[in-house]
């Protein structure tokens, strides 16, 4: 009887565990026998040794250190963790419930508000995302003109500091001359006026920021002014300006606006980049574009305009990273890249656009974006091409943590594929 009780208690324990995500573990791991898609150094048959959070070694026939957990991954594939260069992950939980939206502060001049402050490490959306092989994302504010400071985060950890992955950028929503949506009833003339006014306002703020930066060059002597302190970093070239701009004319205006300003900048969105790919290439500005899985912004645009956009820009010589621009479905980043690959970009370049290219844009290519010795161990094992829809992600490591392939979605599947009790209570 006692045995039965113990067995029953043990059974309950297992059932209970099934309701929560298993813990990530840290240690030394040897992944043996996979095809390693290094991104920067080709595809090789090799073992990968993970130690102290880093990729310690990539070579064939590595001998396992005494304390290592050896994982046989022969016949499988290892890829670097994908980087989504633009998301709202961690900032928005349920988009229709405004009190769960921490991405849109009030005002046109809020460059000082920090995404990293409001990221919820326990967001249910984070495990759902990372089990797709997306290990690192930009969490970006979306509010007014200077919307706030975006952060690159790794999708493991329980505090924002544990998640922070070494890059911050200030988001500028460049004034748009497009319609805001179907309900925007402004006339062409009104839109033109609004746009001119918005650019004038932008110029005014920028002039102030430059003056502030000059006056407070070495240390701040002015009164408390967090907005200008945040912009000072941009003016001084210490922090990147992420310029969200989508319509052809607006992209050209933005390029002109950035010209002559000695700052670090990246164009984001760039929906109509395909129309002016050469001009963008000539500007030397890198681009973060996406999603591909989006309807074209104009009724008369080609049906596949959003699929072909990254490839057209790439071929013109633009450095292109791909983003999902999503919240709950950042897991679709590989599928966005897959469509870009199919529509002209090719798999190899599309892979770079979600790994090494964004890492280079954000200045973290020494840590992320490829499988090389000395980089952070953010990588995953799959049974095939991660862009292919049916591919399964089998193992996941983020900054050396062995993260379980579990999320709300997998747990609900486990519980309900054969519901118990079923139709009858018995």
């Amino acid at each position: 009887m006692k045995i039965i009780n113990i067995a029953f208690a043990f059974f309950c324990l297992i059932s209970l565990n099934a309701q929560q995500i298993a813990k990530s573990t840290y240690g030394t791991f040897l992944l043996k026998g996979a095809t390693v898609h290094t991104i920067t150094k080709g595809d090789i048959q090799a073992d990968v040794l993970i130690q102290d959070g880093m990729i310690k070694s990539v070579a064939s026939g590595i001998t396992a250190p005494a304390n290592a957990e050896v994982i046989d991954v022969s016949g499988k594939h290892i890829y670097p963790g994908m980087i989504d260069a633009g998301t709202t992950l961690g900032l928005v939980e349920v988009s229709s419930i405004s009190l769960t939206n921490d991405n849109n502060e009030i005002g046109d001049l809020t460059p000082h508000v920090e995404a990293l402050t409001a990221i919820n490490p326990s967001s249910v959306l984070i495990p759902v995302t990372r089990v797709s092989g997306v290990t690192t994302v930009i969490a970006k504010p979306a509010g007014g003109l200077f919307a706030g400071t975006a952060s690159l985060i790794s999708l493991v950890g329980y505090t924002p500091d544990q998640m922070y992955a070494g890059f911050k950028g200030v988001v500028l929503n460049f004034p748009s001359s497009g319609k805001r949506g179907r309900r925007d009833r402004r006339s062409d003339e009104d839109i033109k006026k609004d746009t001119e006014k918005a650019i004038k306002n932008l110029d005014k703020i920028w002039t102030q920021a430059e003056a502030y930066a000059a006056m407070n060059k070495d240390k701040s002597i002015a009164d408390y002014n967090p907005e200008m302190e945040a912009l000072k970093l941009v003016v001084n070239g210490e922090r990147m300006l992420m310029v969200e701009v989508n319509k052809k004319d607006d992209i050209l205006t933005a390029i002109k606006w950035l010209k002559g300003k000695d700052i670090k900048a990246v164009l984001t969105g760039v929906t109509e980049g395909y129309k002016i790919a050469k001009e963008i290439a000539d500007s030397g500005l890198p681009v973060i574009t996406g999603p591909m899985l989006a309807v074209p912004a104009r009724a008369e645009a080609a049906y596949d305009a959003s699929y072909t956009n990254p490839s057209i820009m790439l071929k013109a010589g633009v450095k292109v990273a791909i983003r999902s621009d999503d919240t709950e479905n950042v897991r679709n980043l590989p599928f966005n890249a897959g469509f870009a690959a199919a529509y002209g970009m090719g798999v190899e370049e599309a892979l770079k656009a979600v790994t090494i290219v964004p890492a280079e844009i954000f200045g973290v290519a020494d840590k992320y974006g490829s499988i090389e010795e000395g980089k952070m161990a953010s990588l995953f094992v799959s049974d095939g091409d991660p862009f292919e829809t049916k591919t399964q992600i089998l193992n996941l490591f983020i900054n050396g943590w062995n993260v379980p392939i579990e999320s709300r979605h997998t747990l609900l599947y486990d519980e309900f594929i054969e519901r118990s009790p079923g139709l009858n209570k018995k």
Binding site: V94, S95, S96, V124, L125, S177, G178, K179, R180, G181, R183, D188, I191, K192, N246, K247, K248, D249, T271, E272, P291, L293, A294, V295, P296, A297, R298, A299, E300, A301, A302, Y303, D304, S306, D325, D326, T327, E328, N329, N332, F335, G338, F339, A341, A342, Y343, F387, E388, T389, K390, R408, H409, T410, L412, Y413, F416, I417, R419, G422, L423
Partner: protein, 446 residues
């Protein structure tokens, strides 16, 4: 002379509904029939808009367009059981029950979304009323005959009538929160149905009494009650917007009480929780591949929903509810292989024969079988591959999308001189509220 008169007469009689049909021979393809296996190096012949032959070495006359599909994949035209494309209006959001209105009165054959859907292999869609009302308007099953000018020519004539119902947050938000009337809760939503069904039942009895001579004065004709009475008679299939398990069970119970059996749930994000009950009722479930968390009632979701439903015996389909997703339903269906490991045939059934069953048109479309309508999609690779690119989409034997013949004027150019008005910001963001089109405008004043 007699011949001419007959011809003119024929045109008078059938002209309004005479659909253009064509002849096409597709050669040397991998033919995925969905219901009868997959054939390698096979041909498909469509004659007068119907599938005439499937097999090897088929030849046809010179009046038949031949497509060399060597190395390519042919599948049945994709069917979307939930969309709002080709519609000028979606929501008559003025009353908890608007059974009398019909989106078929608001068809727009010029909507470029039809062409974009064709470019994703979709040949048939269910143009639905929105979800603002517990009992919404009647819907229209359309074929994507992009290029026709007459709205009537979009209709899939003979397809069963359908009506939109809606549970949960949308009718609660519009009527309870927005207008201060029932329903503000899921309890109230139930009573909208029970009242409507009961009143329609009484209405039918009043007519029966009048028709049998029991009463002398006819009841006042009421189109709303007529429509609900047609639901009770089984002449209209209910397609119900729903998310939570409790409300799904509620509507099944209400339907049982009124003897209604033709029921298909839409979205049904928590359908996986009550899959055995759905299967036992025989209700369909038309779901998103992976949409979730955009509102609270879809927070407890799983992308494994379709797989769980299918494996529990529910007739399940994957729908778009979106001018974006409808462009790649083949990819949405493939997600059930990542989330649930469905076979190729199971995954493809979710966007072909199963939505056809849910719309009551599975005897006409949804698989490649001799005698069925000539609706076909041709892909460069297996349609469940992320790298597949649609090549041709054929409706009734007429090529409506050809990747090699895609001139700019296939799309409507509103005003080529006008840079400003035609660019829309935020098209890249999924609009999760397509079901609420025309309804949210009511709240912008607040």
């Amino acid at each position: 002379m007699k011949y001419i008169i007959y011809t003119i007469l024929m045109f008078c009689c059938f002209g309004a509904f005479a659909q253009e049909t064509g002849n096409v021979l597709i050669k040397n393809a991998t033919v995925i029939t969905v219901t009868k296996g997959t054939l390698e190096n096979a041909d498909v012949l469509i004659t007068n808009g119907k599938i005439a032959k499937i097999g090897k070495g088929i030849s046809a006359g010179s009046d038949t367009k031949t497509i060399d599909a060597t190395g390519q994949f042919v599948m049945p035209g994709i069917i979307d059981a939930h969309s709002h494309i080709a519609l000028d209006a979606v929501n008559e959001a003025t009353d908890p029950s608007t059974a009398h209105v019909w989106v078929g009165d608001a068809l727009d054959p010029f909507d470029v979304s039809i062409y974009r859907a064709l470019a994703g292999g979709v040949t048939t869609s269910h143009a639905m009323h929105g979800s603002a009302n517990a009992i919404g308007g009647q819907c229209e099953t359309i074929k994507h005959r992009y290029g026709v000018m007459d709205p009537n020519e979009l209709r899939m004539v003979g397809a069963p009538r359908t009506i939109k119902f809606a549970l949960g947050e949308n009718p609660m938000r519009v009527h309870g929160e927005g207008r201060g009337i029932v329903p503000r809760t899921r309890m109230g939503v139930e009573q909208v149905f029970r009242r409507s069904f009961s009143e329609a039942k009484e209405y039918m009895e009043e007519w029966d009494d009048y028709n049998s001579g029991k009463t002398k004065v006819p009841p006042v004709y009421d189109l709303k009650k007529e429509t609900v009475a047609d639901i009770l008679k089984g002449d209209i299939i209910i397609h119900c917007h729903s998310y939570r398990a409790d409300e799904i069970l509620m509507l099944m119970n209400v339907c049982k009480d009124f003897g209604i059996t033709k029921l298909c749930f839409q979205h049904v994000n928590e359908g996986f929780k009550v899959a055995p009950e759905l299967a036992a009722f025989g209700a369909g479930a038309s779901v998103f591949a992976d949409w979730w968390a955009y509102k609270f009632e879809v927070y407890y979701s799983t992308a494994f929903n379709a797989a769980i439903l299918l494996r529990n015996g529910v007739v399940a389909s994957i729908n778009s509810d979106s001018g974006e997703l409808i462009r790649h339903l083949y990819h949405e269906a493939a997600k059930t292989q990542r989330y649930g490991g469905l076979t190729d045939e199971e995954a493809l059934s979710l966007i072909t024969i199963n939505p056809a069953k849910q719309l009551g048109i599975d005897d006409r479309v949804g698989s490649l079988e001799v005698g069925k309508e000539g609706d076909v999609a041709i892909f460069s690779k297996h349609p469940l591959s992320v790298y597949a690119i649609p090549q041709y989409t054929i409706v009734d034997g007429v090529v409506r999308f050809d990747i090699n013949n895609d001139p700019a004027d296939m799309r409507i150019d509103i005003n080529p001189e006008d840079e400003v008005s035609t660019f829309f910001e935020n098209t890249k963001h999924h609009d999760h509220d397509n079901c609420m089109r025309d309804a949210m405008e009511l709240f912008t004043e607040k």
